[in-house]
């Protein structure tokens, strides 16, 4: 048996196959796989910018878990994720259904909604920081017209998280809307016709035809959103720097600060492993579902 299989392998062809894979192996090893292994190793070491100092056993993990910041940072992420699911996940679905339903101006609205997804996040955040300015900022002045007193959007610990999620929705909703739109266009229109003849209301048609049809996309995009929001760095980094207090300090920001301000790469690696462990379930679901989706797609 064994020799049979061996005979079938055409070594010249295998050489060509691996030659094609060579750039892939090189870049993935240097930029992904080696760093991944290094994270695990670092998390058991005392390391700083000068390099390896000594083995630390579980010391980094103990220091991470004993620090109250561990709970705070992950609680912040939990709130961010929940808020983004409430505020952010529904918006693209609703927008896609409405845009798809319009008979005119479809591509205009599609383009407008997609615009923020194309600009660099940091550039948009520079502008949003001014919009959220305290006291006489533009947002506060506009709200004053409706009789709402001025708020400290980025300085108030309760307001700052929704404020950041609103900005993230502003950036992200457009791209997601386009993905839903392409899914909506695959729905056989005969289904709606039949439902209409059976006397189903518009709302019922959306509930029983549209939503079930795009449910697999919704599943994947929600999981992607959870993974994406859990790693959020740039938005709090530029808007608040993790403050006020620790209200927007996410694990990603802690990792950055631990490594580059405190020069403690071992502890930063322990935090990285915590991201890996806590997001592991969602990553698994994402990979599994998107694999299923793609096999059905193409």
């Amino acid at each position: 048996m064994r020799t049979n299989i061996r005979k079938k392998i055409n070594w010249k062809r295998q050489g060509v196959a691996y030659l094609f894979l060579l750039p892939f192996f090189i870049v993935f090893t240097i930029a992904c796989w080696y760093p991944m292994c290094k994270t695990i190793v670092y998390s058991f070491q005392r390391v700083n910018i000068m390099g390896f100092q000594e083995w630390a056993g579980l010391n980094n993990y103990l220091r991470m878990l004993k620090n109250p910041l561990f709970c705070t940072a992950w609680k912040n992420v939990l709130v961010f994720v929940l808020l983004s699911l409430i505020l952010g996940a529904l918006v693209p679905i609703i927008l896609a259904i409405i845009i798809n339903e319009m008979r005119r101006l479809t591509s205009l609205f599609q383009t407008i909604v997609y615009l923020p997804a194309l600009i660099p996040v940091s550039v948009g955040l520079i502008v949003w920081r001014q919009i959220y300015a305290p006291n006489e900022g533009i947002l506060n002045s506009l709200l004053k017209l409706v009789g709402i007193p001025p708020q400290l959007w980025l300085q108030d610990p309760t307001l700052v998280k929704p404020a950041i999620i609103i900005v993230m929705t502003w950036f992200g909703a457009g791209g997601t809307t386009l993905i839903y739109l392409s899914a909506l266009r695959e729905i056989p229109l005969e289904l709606y016709e039949a439902a209409e003849l059976d006397g189903f209301s518009v709302f019922k048609r959306i509930r029983h035809i549209t939503l079930p049809y795009i449910s697999s996309r919704i599943k994947i995009l929600v999981v992607m959103q959870i993974i994406f929001v859990s790693q959020v760095f740039t938005e709090p980094f530029i808007l608040t720097g993790g403050g006020p207090g620790n209200a927007t300090r996410t694990p990603a920001i802690v990792i950055y600060e631990t490594a580059f301000s405190m020069n403690d790469f071992g502890l930063a690696a322990a935090w990285s492993v915590s991201i890996l462990v806590i997001l592991g379930v969602f990553s698994f679901l994402y990979v599994w579902w998107s694999q299923k989706e793609q096999q059905g797609e193409f």
Binding site: F24, A31, T111, V123, Q294
Partner: protein
């Protein structure tokens, strides 16, 4: 009826009823409201960029400036050397996309067509890479870039330090494997009989037949890499090398508010123009 069904959730006749018109009006209202919210930061940065340095710090609703200082835009453009900034972005993101496309198409072709020994292991590795959050290995990756193993070269302040990780896209490889798998085997077999080499078939059959998906993936990668912040912020420390996303952020600490808002608006223009051309093209093709 032989004519294809042309309708949405509501049929065209339903649209014309009173209830349908009301729903339509409601939809339009929502879309207009959303559009205003989406476009507001654009308008805000545009007009704030026109204001004088004393007016910009005035509170209240001064959406439109007292006098239109177009000079601010010229000053921002020259003072911040925005040509350089955009060039850096083009080099960083463009090189990254090119690397990503080259690495991914070659790997996907090999896995799809040449069936290397250990394909299963390789595909599993790709899925693992897709699943592991980048944040979980960013710091070690940075340290590796400061001192590459074996050759001990630092890629800090070097575009290679950007292109190397930018070239890794497990997502692109997986989509391309599916795309190459979908090409009928007969086409390759016919070419093989004509004596085509694997490189020839890769360049003349696999790539052209997957052109549209490669363009879509490339465009999506370009958008992501153009806006990337943390990695170039770590790798490109010298201001002359920094792309728009990083340089503008560092400038906000030094420059007056009206000037950096003018610069921000300028930075928003090219992606906006791109959007107008691109949205229609990728209408059907934007999948996961």
């Amino acid at each position: 009826m032989s004519s294809p069904v042309n309708r949405g959730v509501m049929s065209n006749t339903e649209w014309r009823t009173r209830g349908g018109r009301l729903v339509g009006l409601f939809y339009l209202l929502i879309l207009i409201l959303v559009s205003i919210c989406v476009l507001f930061p654009y308008l805000f940065s545009f007009t704030a960029g026109l204001k004088t340095s004393s007016e910009i710090y005035k509170g209240g609703i001064h959406l439109f400036p007292e006098e239109w200082n177009w000079g601010n835009y010229v000053e921002a453009w020259n003072r911040f050397d925005m040509v350089k900034m955009f060039l850096n972005s083009i080099i960083a993101a463009g090189g990254g996309v090119l690397g990503q496309v080259i690495v991914s198409t070659l790997a996907a072709y090999s896995i799809s067509r040449l069936k290397p020994v250990g394909t299963r292991v390789i595909v599993t590795l790709i899925f693992v890479t897709l699943g592991v959050p980048v944040m979980a290995y960013l710091i070690p990756r940075y340290i590796i870039m400061t001192d590459l193993p074996l050759i001990h070269v630092s890629l800090v302040n070097n575009f290679l330090g950007l292109w190397l990780p930018y070239s890794c896209s497990p997502f692109m490889i997986l989509v391309l494997i599916n795309s190459f798998d979908a090409i009928p085997k007969e086409i390759f077999e016919a070419a093989q009989l004509d004596g085509a080499s694997d490189l020839g078939m890769f360049l003349k059959i696999a790539l052209p037949l997957s052109r549209s998906i490669i363009y879509t993936l490339g465009f999506m990668a370009l958008v992501t890499l153009w806006g990337d912040f943390l990695w170039p912020y770590l790798i490109l420390r010298s201001p002359e090398l920094q792309p728009v996303s990083v340089r503008l952020y560092t400038l906000t600490r030094l420059a007056p508010r009206n000037l950096f808002l003018a610069a921000s608006f300028i930075a928003m223009v090219p992606p906006t123009i791109a959007a107008c051309f691109i949205v229609r093209k990728i209408k059907g093709g934007l999948t996961l």
